[in-house]
Amino acid sequence: MALLEVKNLRVYFHTREGTVKAVDDVSFTLEKNETLCLVGESGCGKSVTALSIIGLISNPGKIESGQILFEGVDLVKLKKSELRKFRGTEISMIFQEPMTSLNPSLKVGFQIVELLLEHFNVSKTEAKNLAVEFLKKVKIPDAVGTYDKYPHQLSGGMRQRVMIAMALISKPSLLIADEPTTALDVTIQLQILELIRDLKNSLGTSVILITHDMGVVANLADKVAVMYAGKIVESGEVFEVFENPLHPYTVGLLGSIPKLDTPKNSRLISIPGNVPRLINPPKGCRFHERCSRKLEICEIAEPPEMTIGNSNHRIACWLYSDEFQGAVDTDERYGS
């Protein structure tokens, strides 16, 4: 059984201006010991997807439909009190800005001890020792000194390490990391990515990592799901998707990053237009307005999701649909 199976998840925000279809029919699975990266530009629904899994969607947001099966249990159907057994225990989450989840007026060590006392049947002294051990586990150089510091006395990278330590204390089976390195400098980002990889391997935790950075995906992911405007447009094994990107959005996203071998004085691929707002998303394929390979059908009907070849490379795009293979041919003839 997969560790996590998200099926046809829909999460809408009912705001005064209208309904924001933040996550609209999203499905994916995560096996044990696997790292899945959810990648996409801002506002495409990555965080909302994560928050749904950990049960933190609140008004005006609502899970409209779908299932979130965690070891076979549908978290969507659970009561708040039942969910608590999972949140912070089986499933932990870290965020982009660790300050939002650390209490600024309490020493770091104290906050970890509180958590330990909550999760384990240990004495205060044992908890203290364990806390220092966890700080060492996330490779904080001066673990004993850090124990006695307030969050604001630590650098961004050190705070993120503290957050990771706290997230892992309950030995969760799933760690969700929402842009954990976005606010950090590049040399610190590399440290944190290495840390997540090491801990995942040594503790056997599965990871969902959210990012807007294809470099982070390339560094860490086993599987990747590319999101655009509330939907997953392409997903699969990371090597396969990067080697053979199919959706025009994935292709554009990869092409718009300057690489070390991009010739100078060339121009980058750019995707015209802007990321759509999700109150009135474009009809048909949500990407069609910005797509250079748009077909007529793309403006009218939502593309079906299909599997390419015999891998689990999945894509939602009319260009690859058997039904419309004819249309592609026509298009190419006109194009040439």
Partner: protein, 324 residues
């Protein structure tokens, strides 16, 4: 030199901050020098707090430097703008324009784009009404927007469009230098490349020089002719872009380049990485020796005691390291 538009010499900048009633000095810039040629793009990289923004603001006279010179070469003469007071500098302001990370914060929300641009021209006493209108229409097209956009307000635009507007506001004065401080950092990847392409087009067409400040080294490599690497207010290495990427000398530069993630899982997982330990030191306590010593993998005794002099290792390739 004739084609040098800007020569920055030994700029220092200290801030005095008070925390809990106690005053302390922040050494934001500790003697930075470089020159910029006509049409050249200088990229400035380094981690947050290393002084990139402060340097940009000193050059554009938003901050007064504590010491040092900024020699601007325009109108056929050389002027040290660091020495000019506000009033004397006013007639030179048009030569150095700035673009910021957050275009929204730098545009007046109550003014239409037309009014914003018109006011800029008026403030600099450029042209009469007709000429100004003509220039506005021309400039808005240069940045990929249309006439109808002129009568809208900043909030009606997306992030990428707003950055186009701030580029228009800089460009309309026909500056010699545009200082761009993290101009694409707040934008989505697909929009970033639109703006980078636009900046390159403008350089090609108008021969403007850029000082391009960014923490994103791949973007800097792509857009720059030469690069300066900063660490704790020092320029630790300077070189033409290809030289810097082929033959980085300073251990910090090597670490920084090693931290660039390649968007290719095969390459990314097999390449050799240099993972730095620790964090950037406190800018209120500049170490006696090399600023990078406490994180440096090849540190020797001398590094903690003696500040390395800047040396030119090969043509135009400067480094401050005892062992480079």
């Amino acid at each position: 030199m004739k084609d040098t538009v800007l020569e920055v010499k030994d700029i220092k900048k200290e801030f005095v901050v008070s925390r809990f009633g106690r005053k302390k000095k922040i050494y934001a810039l500790n003697g930075v020098s470089f020159d910029l040629k006509k049409g050249e793009v200088l990229g400035i990289v380094g981690e947050s707090g290393c002084g990139k923004t402060t340097l940009g603001r000193v050059i554009s006279k938003i901050y007064e430097p504590t010491s040092g010179e900024c020699i601007l070469n325009v109108e056929g003469k050389e002027i040290d703008i660091a020495k000019l007071d506000e009033k004397k500098f006013r007639s030179y302001r048009k030569y150095i324009q700035m673009i910021f990370q957050d275009p929204f914060a730098s545009l007046n929300p109550r003014l239409t784009i037309y009014t914003t641009l018109y006011d800029v021209l008026k403030a600099h006493g450029i042209g009469n009404k007709d000429y100004r209108n003509e220039l506005i229409e021309k400039t808005i097209k240069e940045v990929g927007l249309e006439n109808y956009h002129l009568f809208r307000y900043p909030h009606e635009f997306s992030g990428g469009q707003r950055q186009r507007i701030s580029i228009a506001r800089a460009l309309i004065l026909n500056p010699d230098i545009i200082i761009a401080d993290e101009p694409v950092s707040a934008l989505d990847v697909s929009i970033q490349s639109q703006i980078i392409n636009l900046m390159l087009d403008i350089r090609e067409k108008f021969g403007v020089s850029y000082i391009f400040i960014s923490h994103d080294i791949s973007v800097v490599r792509y857009i720059s002719d030469k690069v300066m690497v900063m660490y704790l207010g020092f320029a630790v290495e300077k070189a033409p872009v290809d030289v810097l990427f082929d033959r980085p000398l300073h251990p910090y530069t090597k670490a920084l380049l090693s931290a660039i993630l390649t968007p290719d899982p095969k390459k990314e997982r097999t390449r050799k990485k240099m993972i730095l330990q620790g964090d950037v030191p406190d800018p209120s306590k500049i170490p006696m020796g090399c600023v990078f010593a406490d994180r440096c993998p090849i540190k020797k005794d001398i590094c903690e005691k003696v500040k390395p002099e800047e040396r030119e290792i090969e043509k135009d390739h400067f480094v401050s390291c005892h062992f480079a």
